[in-house]
Amino acid sequence: MYSEKVMDHFMNPRNVGELENANGIGEVGNAKCGDIMRIYIDVEDSIIKDIKFKTFGCGAAIATSSMVTEMVKGKTIDEALKVTNKAVAEALGGLPPVKMHCSNLAADALHKAIENYKQNMQKNTQN
């Protein structure tokens, strides 16, 4: 069902956990649907210095979460915003068709985290 790369990211997920000093947090999905992805980012000078995730969901949900963190760690937020769900799936060597829509949301969570970071920055500037 899943590619080897998916299974690797699922069994040995990269960057699992929370970031105490995250300045951006994004969450997608809900427990009702069976998938929640929460991504924590620590952005400095527009660069994602650190990133962690916590995910409740199926193999694809966990693997895409792990993959997206690897793909953007050390990248600028502009670069990170260009990472799509599709790109994450491709980086994993593809996902089963049924998983493409319901569990391939990690990039969305990342984008939400970046949005959240930007909002936080704005608030900080305004204050």
């Binding site: 899943y2 299974m7 699922f10 069994m11 997920p13 699992v16 969450e27 427990a31 009702k32 649907c33 069976g34 998938d35 929640i36 992805m37 929460r38 916590k54 995910t55 409740f56 969901g57 199926c58 193999g59 694809a60 949900a61 966990i62 089963p96 049924v98 998983k99 319901c102 569990s103």
Partner: protein
């Protein structure tokens, strides 16, 4: 790596005795059972012996057994066949919310064709209430279709009581016995069953074969059209090797039933107890005692079923889940939801169904592996600390 198969309600390996007899009918006695010559007569003999073996298991007459391609076809034939044969009498059907899709989807199809279907609710243990069946009966009710034992949570239904009711009211009674055939004693007369579906691959027989018990005198329209096989009720060259295998599997299941149920009940209870003791935030789904001897169904809060299955699989353990993610749909098991279990908790369900080859060591291994896996997944779960779905 140790391999522990705990998915016997999904399907079973074919037992060696059955493989052996099948091979004989695949190669030597391969004739078409409808042929006049010796090859055909040999095949016919095997076919009719199997019919007897199966009839014996449920106290039916051999002429009341009709072979189908599996449980799904038997369910379709029973329900669609009864509906069309009786539509002049009425168009109302009663079933339950926890039936297998082979029954539910068939009923949905009939609804599109103008039939009316009542889907009875169940209690938190997945039990159907006889009282509710009674209340649902109308003058135009032509069929009650109800499973004997549930495939997900193992709950055993009051089939005999519903059968008595159906008989009293003159309503055709169909029982989906796919999960109980060969596992629970069945007497179609005592239970007043008119139609009963069974499937071979759940009892160590081959896949692709099942049967419909059709009580003499019960009117059912055929689902398919063609040759005159199965006394004109089910056309197509008879699948003799599979039928012969099914027959032997049924006979052996009957012989071993009492002893095997005792053995499995012990293993099952050991597994349930172990899980409840070793892992926090877990619940048993289904009836605590009125359940199949081989069924364990639990929900681990804060984790999702498919990832649980994958991790178990990496440890050699094969199980299943009512999580939506295993089917690619968005909603988890309709059975768990009908029992009043929340979506969140349904997603974290794990079904382990035991079988012939499982030993105490298998259970020990499972109890050794499971806590770590659950802990690992919880450590990744954004829900675990938040306590969002604690109940």
């Amino acid at each position: 790596m140790r391999k522990v198969y705990l998915d016997h309600s999904a399907t079973t390996p074919v037992r060696p005795e059955v493989v052996e007899v099948m091979n004989q009918y695949l190669t030597n006695n391969f004739g078409n059972a409808s042929s006049v010559h010796s090859f055909g007569r040999e095949a016919r003999k095997g076919l009719e012996t199997a019919r007897e073996q199966i009839a014996n298991l449920i106290k039916a007459q051999p002429e009341e057994i009709f072979f189908t391609s599996g449980g799904t076809e038997a369910d379709n034939m029973a329900i669609i066949g009864t509906a069309f044969a009786n539509q002049k009498k009425g168009k109302h059907i009663i079933t339950t919310q926890i039936e297998h899709h082979a029954v539910l989807e068939t009923c949905h199809h009939l609804e599109k064709l103008g039939f009316e279907v009542t889907y009875l609710p169940v209690d938190k243990n997945a039990l159907v209430s006889v009282e509710k069946v009674k209340e649902a009966i109308r003058d135009d009710t032509i069929l009650i279709s109800m499973m004997h034992a549930n495939n997900e949570v193992g709950t055993i239904q009051p089939v005999k009581e519903v059968g008595a009711l159906a008989k009293e009211k003159g309503i055709v009674f169909h029982v989906d016995a796919v999960q109980s055939f060969g596992k629970l004693p069945i007497d179609v007369n005592e239970m007043n069953i008119d139609l009963l579906s069974a499937s071979s691959h759940k009892i160590y027989g081959p896949k692709g074969i099942g049967c419909l018990f059709l009580r003499k005198g019960t009117k059912v329209e055929p689902l398919m059209f063609g040759g005159a096989q199965e006394r004109k009720r089910r056309p197509g060259t008879e699948n003799v090797p599979a039928i012969v295998g099914f027959g032997l599997a049924a006979e052996l299941a009957g012989k071993e039933m009492a002893q095997e149920n005792e053995r499995l009940t012990k293993l099952r209870d050991k597994l349930i107890q172990g899980i409840l003791e070793k892992i926090p935030h877990v619940q048993l789904n289904g009836h605590p005692t009125q359940r199949l001897a081989n069924n364990v169904n639990v929900s681990f809060h804060y984790v999702e079923g498919e990832s649980l299955l994958l991790m178990l699989d990496m440890k050699g353990i094969a199980a299943s889940s009512g999580s939506a993610c295993t089917s690619g749909s968005l909603d988890p098991s309709h059975v768990l939801l009908a029992m009043g279990i929340s979506h969140e908790i349904a997603h974290g369900s794990l079904r382990m169904t035991l079988g012939k080859v499982n030993t105490e060591e298998d259970i020990d291994y499972c109890l050794e592996v499971l806590p770590d896996i659950v802990a690992k997944l919880r450590s990744m779960s954004p829900l675990y600390n938040s306590g969002k779905i604690e109940n």
